[in-house]
């Protein structure tokens, strides 16, 4: 077992492309760290540098207090699971799992014992003499896992191991990998572009964007306290709603004018976002999570100045909740980050011509909202987020 430390790690390719910039990251012993970000953010490059498949341009990489910058992959005591699984097609499952042990000249008896144990753990027993092409996607994925655990390495590195599976299997394997990691207590770095995997699997999540680390922390903490617009928009599904508003003084506290609606901050929010006072009269990006909004007809004692007027465009009844897309007369936030997020989520490919901003809220299922309704939405003003529209950073105390 070991901790992995990245200090000011940089990767610059010969063509000048700077894939990873000054990455500082410490993965504790036995921790499950998820590296997440849109495609091209440098997360896979970072992982490959830890694996030793990519040279480190500058910085220091330590595994268990040993500087491993120039060590070859085999001397780093790591195991990696590839996105494509990379099973050796000419070997059967048992040989695939045993390959790393055979290369290390382990005794036949020990190899047999370890392969058997890994096979038991992953329920691969009946498949041991099959070839990879005779396996289903999920089985191949399990063989790839088996190949990693059988070596009993200090660190697991996983590069989007679930992205080739269909949605249902992915949910299942997600739980299985997380469980396996808890049982084995091996330090794990897991790369994914799927924020749901990041939220559900990791002890901690590290969000990256264009080679830069944005925020590291426990999933729930990041979800509730995103450091900037990018993290706010990337973590969470549906992504955080954002619109431009103007900060005003209202009574003893602050309020934001969001299009034609005015939202007064709850007293606790005033304290939480103390530095918002310096933005009075200026624009801020206001972020509201979908679950922090509710159909006004379902809320009895909503405080004054906490309502948005909304024109419903689509509703999606999921049973446990009613997802409502509505149009708001506030200005949309347009920054580099938002563009990047929209590109990554495919939203940029979907044309929309409406003026204003589109919000997504999740209402209780007993809400009777229909498309084309004009409704009022109550916002939980305690749980609003504010960002500087210029720098994108969160405005806090």
């Amino acid at each position: 077992m070991a901790e992995v430390t990245l200090e000011k790690i940089n990767k610059q390719y010969e063509n000048g492309f700077h894939a990873v910039r000054d990455l500082d990251l410490k993965v504790a012993d036995g921790e499950f760290l998820v590296l997440v970000g849109p495609s091209g953010c440098g997360k896979t490059t970072a992982l490959r540098m830890v694996a030793g498949l990519e040279d480190i341009t500058s910085g220091t990489l330590r595994i268990a207090d040993r500087v491993v910058n120039t060590l070859s992959p085999k001397d780093r005591d790591i195991a990696m699971v590839f996105q494509s699984y990379a099973l050796y097609p000419h070997m059967n499952v048992a040989e695939n799992i045993a390959y790393g042990l055979k290369i290390r000249r382990m005794s036949k008896e020990e190899i047999r014992r370890r392969v058997q144990r890994a096979a038991d753990m992953l329920e691969l027993g009946p498949l041991l003499d099959r070839k990879p092409k005779q396996l289903s996607g999920g089985q191949r994925q399990r063989v790839a896992m088996g190949r990693a655990i059988v070596r009993e390495p200090q660190v697991f590195l996983m590069d989007e191991p679930l992205s080739n599976l269909d949605a249902k299997l992915r949910v299942q394997m997600r739980a299985q990998i997380a469980q396996l990691q808890r049982d084995l207590e091996v330090t794990t770095i897991y790369v994914t572009h799927d924020q749901v995997e990041a939220m559900t699997m990791g002890d901690r999540v590290a969000v990256m964007k264009t080679g830069l680390l944005q925020q590291v922390g426990e999933p729930q903490h990041i979800y509730e306290n995103p450091d900037n617009i990018f993290v706010a928009g990337f973590i969470g599904s549906p992504p955080m709603n954002m619109a431009l508003g103007v900060v005003e003084r209202a009574g003893g506290g602050l309020a934001v004018q969001l299009g034609s609606a005015k939202l007064a901050l709850a007293p606790s929010a005033n304290a939480k976002h103390a530095s918002l006072a310096s933005y009075v009269g200026r624009d801020v990006a206001v972020g509201i999570r979908s679950e922090d909004m509710e159909d006004s007809r379902l809320v009895r004692d909503a405080p004054p100045d906490s309502r948005l007027k909304a024109a419903v465009t689509i509703t999606e009844a999921l049973g446990s909740e009613l997802v409502v897309h509505f149009q708001l007369d506030a200005r949309a936030v347009v920054t580099e980050d938002i563009r990047l997020l929209e590109k990554d989520s495919g939203k940029a490919d979907v044309p929309h011509h409406e003026a204003g901003t589109r919000f997504v809220a999740s209402f209780a299922p007993r809400s009777q909202v229909r498309p084309r309704d004009e409704i009022e939405v109550v916002v939980d003003t305690e749980r609003m987020h504010f960002f500087d529209p210029g720098s994108g950073s969160a405005i806090r105390a």
């Binding site: 990696m80 990379a86 097609p89 790393g100």
Partner: protein, 295 residues
Amino acid sequence: MVEPSPAPVHLGSARGGWLRQFGWRHAVGVIALFFALFPIVFVMSAAMNPLGTLSSTELIPTGAGLDNFRKLLRDTNFTTWFGNTLLIGVVAAVVSMFLSACAAYAFSRYRFRGRRMGLMSILLVQMFPQNLAVVALYLMFTRVTDLYPAIGFNTPWALILLYLGAALSVNTWLMKGFFDTIPRELDESAKVDGATHAQIFVGIILPLVAPILAVTGLIGFITAVNEFILASVFLTEPESKTLAVGLYGLVAGERNNNFGVFCAGSLLTAIPTVALFQFLQRYIVGGLTSGAVKG
């Protein structure tokens, strides 16, 4: 009243019957077989003909027998030629296969200065017909024979050296294309598993490129067995000749009627090639890499 049951519906190809579905394939097969065997029948007929002529009017000549084969084995150096040919063919094929595989692996997997240049120049070099170099090679090997007779004229090693060089460029290109289709993740995965470059090459890559190895090996063998011009320049002693040169000698004179013996020799010469084809057939089937990665 009972409604009459409607006639069963036949969809698409299910209607055609045996001939339409499978029969035509047999017909095509028979035509192809006829086309391929037609010339061989004549060679066989001539090989059986005791008169040693090619202009027999009967398919099975009068007095057909194995006389020509007996004459071939008794009166000529046929067995020596056969041995020489096998030695040259097998060594040239195997060694050039290995050398090309090494070169192709490097060109496919490593990025190094001169990689592009190297690829381009071997492509360029192989565009020139080999026979252009006969004079130059002859002069070179005159010197080599003086200095190192063991690899000079009238030795199989001189020819092996030449054939290695000749096949290298084409084979390297062929193989590089094939190597490029093997996912790099396999190399990387083996690397993380602890394998060295040599272990990856031998243990992971070579088994996966077996089809192309078989093809290049086969081509190399056939080329070496059939090559005539260089062999006839380099091999003049009766004991050192290859089959191509030796058999040609049987019919080279103006007034000889050795065609029966010649045809018998040709038939025997074909045996190793056909046998090799049969043996390698199962490797020359692609799809070995399926299942390595998704899909």
